[in-house]
C-alpha cells in the first residue's frame, strides 16, 4: 500500500507510538484497517536495529568479506591473522596467533557473515557461547572466545586443530575396518560428553572432524550451528549441510540428541563404505531420500550384517526409534568389535518414546551443573600454591636488605604507591649500575642476582604484596638470569651460583605461570627441577635444596595441572599428580625437623597431592579419585587443626583454607550437601573475620568470594536458587572489585569466568 503523504499520517504515527500495543490497536481502529496496518508496520520498522548503525558500517561489513577478507598480519583484538583456512558461504575461518598468549597460542577464528541484528540474538549468542566454552574434552576443539563486533558481526575463536577430515584420514591411511570403528568410537565419546552437557552438535560431518597427526579425532564447531542460526528453540535449518542433515532438520522439526545420532550413523556409513547411503543427484531427490527412502546398502559386502543393523538404527526416520543415547550406539560397536551380538540386531533395543527423552532431562541437567563446576579446579590449584608460596617466601633469605627494608616500611602506608614505584625504579637503576661492575666476583653476582629477584618480587612477584607489574617483574628476573647464566657458564662447578640460577628460573617460571604462559613455563620448570634434583642428590639433607627441589616439583605439578585443564588432557593430569607425590615423598624422606614450619610444609604437600587427585578425577571422570583426594586433604587438615590449636593467630587462615578445600572435595566426591554447607558456613565466618581485621587484605577477600562461589553452586544444585544467586552475586562483586584493584592478576578473571555462567544459569528459569 502506498502511504498517504499527509500530516495526518505523522500525527497518527506519533500518537500510536506513545501507546501500548493493545491500546494502539484500539486507537488505530478509527483510522481504518489499511492505515492501521501501515502505521503498525511503521512503528515496528522504526525499531529495526538497522538504523542503529550508519551506512558506512553496513556497507563495510557487507563488502569486507566479499572483496577484502582479513589478511595475514591483520590483528583482531589480541589475535593476529596468520592465514585463511576455509571460507565461503556463511563464514570464513582463519588461523591466528594470540600475541599475548594468555590462553593459547594458535587459534582458529571464524567470522560469520550473517549479522545478529537484535539484542535478544546477541544475548542468546553470548549465553550459548558460555555453555560451549565449558565443553572440555580431548576430542573436542575448544571454543575459547568470541563475541560480536560493534556492527553485530559475530566471531568465534576456537582451538586450532591441525589435521585432516576423518574420511580422508581413513582413506589415505588405508585404515582397517576395526581401526575405522575405533576412530569412530572416539568421536562417539566426544558427542556423548557434549550430550551429557546438554549440547547437541547439529552438524556432524567429516569436514567438522579433523584427525591430528597422532590419530586423535577432534570435533569442530560443536553447537555452532545453533549458536549462529538457531532461534530460542533451535529449529532453524539455515546453513546446515543437506547431505548430512537428518529428516527432522530437513523438515524443520525440533532437534535433539537423536539428530546427532543420525549424523553419526551417516558418518559410520561413510567411513565403512567411503560414500553416503544416498543415490540422489539433485537437492530435491536428496530431500526425498533423507525423509522417505531407506539407506542404499548396495553393493553388499562393504558393510556386514551387524554393522548394517547398527547403522540402520541410527538412520531411522523417527528420532525416537534411533539409539536412545550415543553410549548405546558405542556399546553396540564395542560388542561388534569383540564379536558379540549387537543389540540393534536382536531387537533387544528398546524403542524409546518421547516420554523417555523427557524423563532423561533431569539427570542430564544435573550432569550439566557438575560440568559447570569443572574449572573450579583451576581456582583450587591457584589457592593452594599461593599458600605454599607464602611459606617459602618467609624462609627465603633476602638480599639488598637496606633498600627493601625501606620499601617494606613504605608498604603499609596508605597512598605510598608512587613512592614505592620510585623506590623500585631507583633500586633497578642502582642494580643495573652495579651489574655493569659485577664481572668476575661470584659472591657479588650471587647477591646481585638475589637482589634482582627480590626487586622482581616487589614489582610483580606472584604471591607476595607487589606493585602489580608482572611484565616488569619478568624483565627484572631475566636480568638476574642473564648474570647467573654467564657466571655458571664460566664455572659450572660453582654450586652456589647454580643454585641461585635455579632459584631465579623458579621466579621466572612463577611469573610465567601467573601470566598463564604455560608452554613457556613448562620446559623451564622441567629443566630446573632436574638440576635441583641433582643438587639435592649431592647434598641430600641440606634443607635449602630440599625446599627448592620440592618447590620446583610443586610448580611443575601446578603448571601441568593448568595444562591438563586447558588441553583436557588426562595424561598431563596424571603427570601433575606424579610430581606432587614426588614432592611429598622427597619432603617426608629428606626434610629435617618436626617443628611448626615443617608441619606447615607437610600439610601443604598433602593438600597438593589432594588437588592433583581432584584434577585427575575431573580429567578422567573417575569419581574414585575424589575419594582419594579427600583422604589427602583430611590428612593435611588434621595437621592444620593441630597447628591452629597451638598457634591460633598465625594458623587461622590455613585452617580456614583447609576447611574450604575439604568441604568442596567432600561435595565433589560424596555430594554431602548438609556437611558441605555447614563447613563452608564455618569457613566463611573465619575468612570474614580475617577481612574484618584487615579490610585491605585482598587474599582474605578472595577467600570469602571463593567460599561464596562454592556455596552458590551447592545451593543451586539443591534447588535453592534465590540463595544461590545471592551468594554468587556477592562473590562476583568481590572478584570484580579485586580485579579493579589489580587488573593484571589473572586469578580474578578466571574466577569471574567461572561465577558468571553460574549466575546466568541461575537467572534462567529452571527447565
Amino acid at each position: 500500500m502506498k502511504l498517504p503523504d499527509s500530516d495526518e499520517l505523522e500525527r497518527l504515527f506519533h500518537a500510536a507510538s506513545a501507546l501500548s500495543t493493545g491500546d494502539r490497536a484500539e486507537f488505530l481502529k478509527a483510522a481504518g484497517p489499511t492505515l492501521a496496518n501501515a502505521v503498525s508496520a511503521m512503528i515496528q520498522g522504526a525499531r529495526d536495529p538497522l538504523w542503529d548503525r550508519s551506512a558506512i558500517h553496513v556497507e563495510a561489513r557487507d563488502s569486507a568479506f566479499e572483496c577484502c577478507p582479513p589478511r595475514p598480519g591483520d590483528t583482531f583484538g589480541p589475535y593476529r591473522i596468520v592465514r585463511r583456512i576455509a571460507g565461503g558461504g556463511m563464514s570464513f575461518v582463519y588461523e591466528a596467533a594470540r600475541d599475548d598468549s594468555e590462553f593459547q597460542k594458535r587459534v582458529a577464528i571464524k567470522f560469520v557473515r550473517q549479522g545478529i541484528d537484535d539484542d535478544a540474538g546477541i544475548e542468546r549468542f553470548r549465553g550459548e557461547r558460555q555453555i560451549l566454552a565449558q565443553l572440555e574434552h580431548p576430542n573436542i576443539a575448544r571454543l575459547l572466545d568470541g563475541g560480536t563486533s560493534a556492527d553485530g558481526a559475530p566471531y568465534l575463536v576456537m582451538e586450532f586443530v591441525a589435521g585432516v577430515p576423518i574420511d580422508r584420514f581413513a582413506m589415505e591411511g588405508a585404515l582397517s575396518r576395526a581401526q575405522r570403528i575405533q576412530l569412530f568410537l572416539q568421536v562417539c565419546e566426544a558427542v556423548q560428553y557434549a550430550h551429557s552437557n546438554l549440547v547437541v552438535h547439529r552438524d556432524i560431518k567429516p569436514a567438522n572432524i579433523l584427525v591430528t597427526a597422532d590419530g586423535v579425532p577432534k570435533l569442530l564447531d560443536f553447537g555452532i550451528a545453533k549458536l549462529l542460526t538457531g532461534g530460542p528453540g533451535g529449529e532453524t535449518v539455515a546453513a546446515l549441510t543437506p547431505e548430512y542433515a537428518s529428516p527432522e532438520q530437513v523438515l524443520g522439526r525440533s532437534i535433539t540428541t537423536a539428530t546427532d545420532i543420525y549424523s553419526l550413523g551417516l558418518l559410520l556409513f561413510l567411513l565403512l563404505a567411503d560414500r553416503l547411503p544416498y543415490s540422489a543427484t539433485s537437492p530435491g531427490e536428496l530431500v526425498h531420500a533423507i525423509c522417505e527412502e531407506a539407506p542404499v546398502w548396495e553393493p553388499r559386502g562393504l558393510i556386514d550384517g551387524d554393522l548394517e543393523s547398527v547403522i540402520a538404527v541410527c538412520l531411522r526416520k523417527e528420532p525416537e526409534k534411533r539409539y536412545p543415547s550415543v553410549e548405546r550406539l558405542a556399546d553396540d560397536l564395542r560388542r561388534y568389535l569383540e564379536g558379540l551380538p549387537v543389540s540393534a540386531r536382536g531387537g533387544a533395543l528398546l524403542y524409546r518414546t518421547a516420554k523417555f527423552v523427557r524423563r532423561r532431562k533431569l539427570p542430564l541437567a544435573a550432569a550439566a551443573v557438575v560440568a559447570l563446576g569443572s574449572i573450579a579446579g583451576i581456582v583450587s590449584i591457584v589457592t593452594q600454591s599461593r599458600r605454599l608460596e607464602r611459606r617459602y617466601n618467609q624462609v627465603r633469605t633476602l638480599a639488598g636488605a637496606v633498600l627493601f627494608n625501606a620499601y617494606d616500611a613504605l608498604q603499609d602506608l596508605p597512598g605510598s604507591l608512587p613512592a614505592r614505584r620510585l623506590l623500585a625504579d631507583s633500586a633497578q637503576q642502582n642494580l643495573d649500575t652495579l651489574a655493569r661492575e659485577a664481572a668476575g666476583d661470584r659472591q657479588f653476582i650471587a647477591s646481585l642476582a638475589a637482589s634482582y629477584r627480590r626487586l622482581g618480587d616487589v614489582r610483580g612477584g606472584p604471591y607476595g604484596p607487589n606493585l602489580g607489574d608482572t611484565a616488569g617483574a619478568l624483565t627484572t628476573y631475566r636480568k638476574a638470569e642473564a648474570l647467573l647464566q654467564a657466571a655458571v657458564a664460566h664455572d659450572p662447578s660453582d654450586v652456589d651460583l647454580s643454585f641461585e640460577l635455579a632459584q631465579t628460573h623458579l621466579s621466572v617460571a612463577r611469573a610465567l605461570l601467573r601470566q598463564q604462559e604455560l608452554e613457556a613455563a613448562l620446559p623451564l620448570l622441567r629443566g630446573t627441577a632436574q638440576s635441583l634434583q641433582s643438587l639435592q642428590a649431592r647434598f641430600p639433607k641440606q634443607s635449602r635444596y630440599v625446599m627448592a627441589v620440592t618447590s620446583a616439583y610443586q610448580h611443575l605439578s601446578e603448571c601441568l595441572a593448568f595444562l591438563a585443564n586447558r588441553n583436557g588432557s588426562s595424561s598431563q593430569a596424571f603427570e601433575a599428580l606424579a610430581f606432587a607425590q614426588k614432592g611429598l615423598e622427597v619432603y617426608q624422606t629428606f626434610a629435617p625437623g618436626s617443628g611448626m614450619e615443617w608441619q606447615e610444609h607437610l600439610s601443604a604437600k598433602y593438600f597438593s597431592v589432594g588437588y592433583r587427585l581432584w584434577n585427575v578425577a575431573q580429567r578422567t571422570g573417575d569419581p574414585s579419585y575424589y575419594r582419594q583426594a579427600l583422604e589427602f586433604h583430611l590428612k593435611g587438615q588434621a595437621i592444620n587443626t593441630a597447628l591452629a590449636a597451638a598457634y591460633p593467630a598465625r594458623e587461622g587462615r590455613r585452617l580456614a583454607d583447609g576447611l574450604l578445600t575439604v568441604a568442596s572435595t567432600r561435595w565433589y566426591c560424596c555430594r554431602d550437601t548438609s556437611r558441605t554447607l555447614a563447613q563452608t558456613q564455618q569457613a566463611l565466618a573465619m575468612f570474614q573475620e580475617l577481612v574484618n581485621a584487615d579490610p585491605q587484605n585482598a587474599e582474605a577477600r578472595r577467600d570469602v568470594a571463593n567460599t561464596l562461589q562454592l556455596r552458590g553452586r551447592v545451593l543451586g544444585e539443591i534447588g535453592l536458587r534465590g540463595e544461590a544467586l545471592a551468594a554468587d552475586r556477592e562473590a562476583l562483586a568481590i572478584y570484580q572489585d579485586l580485579r579493579r584493584a589489580d587488573p593484571t592478576d589473572r586469578e580474578n578473571d578466571i574466577a569471574i569466568a567461572i561465577v558468571k555462567p553460574q549466575i546466568a544459569a541461575l537467572e534462567q528459569p529452571p527447565r
Binding site: H14, N37, A55, E59, A64, C68, A150, D151, E243
Partner: protein, 181 residues
C-alpha cells in the same frame, strides 16, 4: 602535525578567517578525505577494522561546531554537503559491489536473506524527500553522514526532541517503503 595546505585543518582555519574560496577548497578536500575513508573501510581492510570505522562527517562536525567565527549557515551547509557526498560514495560502492557480484552458484546450502540493503534505503530516501524533505535531511545526516542525533539537531537548528520525533517517523516510513507493503 603541521597543518599544510593539503590538510583539512589548514583550510578550516582559512575558512574561519574568512579567506575567499576556502569553503570550496575545503569541500573538495573533504570529498577526497571521505573517499579515502571509504576506501580504507570498504576496500583495503579486514572485517577487524570495521570495529574502528568512524564516520568522518561526524568528526568534521565535532571539529567545526565550536568555531564561532563561522556562521551557523556556513557550518550547516558544509556538513550537509559532506553527508550528501558520503551518501553518494556509499551508494556508488554498493552499486559497484552488486554489479561485480557473481551469481550465486546453485549450492545446496540455505542462504540467509541479505540483512541490509543500502541501495534500497537510498531509493526510499529519494521518495521520502518528496513529501518530507526535513525528515529526509535528518536521515541523510544520521544514516549516511553518521552524525548522532544531537549533532543533527545542531546542524538543522532544531530541538533534539523534534529531531528524535522526525527520525522515528522517517525510520518507520522508510522501512515501510522498503518492505513494499
Amino acid at each position: 602535525m603541521a597543518a599544510g595546505p593539503q590538510s583539512v585543518t589548514f583550510w578550516l582555519r582559512r575558512w574561519q578567517e574568512g579567506t575567499e574560496g576556502a569553503l570550496e577548497e575545503l569541500t573538495s578536500l573533504v570529498y577526497d578525505d571521505l573517499r579515502r575513508l571509504a576506501a580504507r573501510h570498504l576496500r583495503a581492510e579486514s572485517p577487524a577494522h570495521i570495529l574502528q570505522a568512524t564516520a568522518l562527517v561526524h568528526e568534521l562536525y565535532l571539529r567545526i561546531s565550536p568555531m564561532q567565527e563561522i556562521d551557523w549557515e556556513g557550518r550547516a551547509h558544509f556538513i550537509s554537503v559532506s553527508a550528501q557526498m558520503m551518501r553518494r560514495i556509499l551508494t556508488d560502492h554498493a552499486r559497484r559491489r552488486r554489479a561485480s557480484k557473481r551469481l550465486p552458484e546453485p549450492r545446496m546450502t540455505f542462504h540467509p536473506p541479505d540483512p541490509v540493503d543500502i541501495l534500497a534505503v537510498d531509493r526510499a530516501l529519494e521518495k521520502l524527500a518528496l513529501s518530507y524533505p526535513r525528515h529526509a535531511r535528518i536521515v541523510e545526516l544520521r544514516f549516511f553522514g553518521g552524525l548522532d542525533l544531537p549533532a543533527v539537531a545542531g546542524v538543522l537548528a532544531m530541538s533534539l526532541r523534534s529531531v528524535q520525533r522526525d527520525w522515528q517517523f522517517a525510520k518507520g516510513w522508510l522501512k515501510h517503503e522498503i518492505a513494499g507493503f
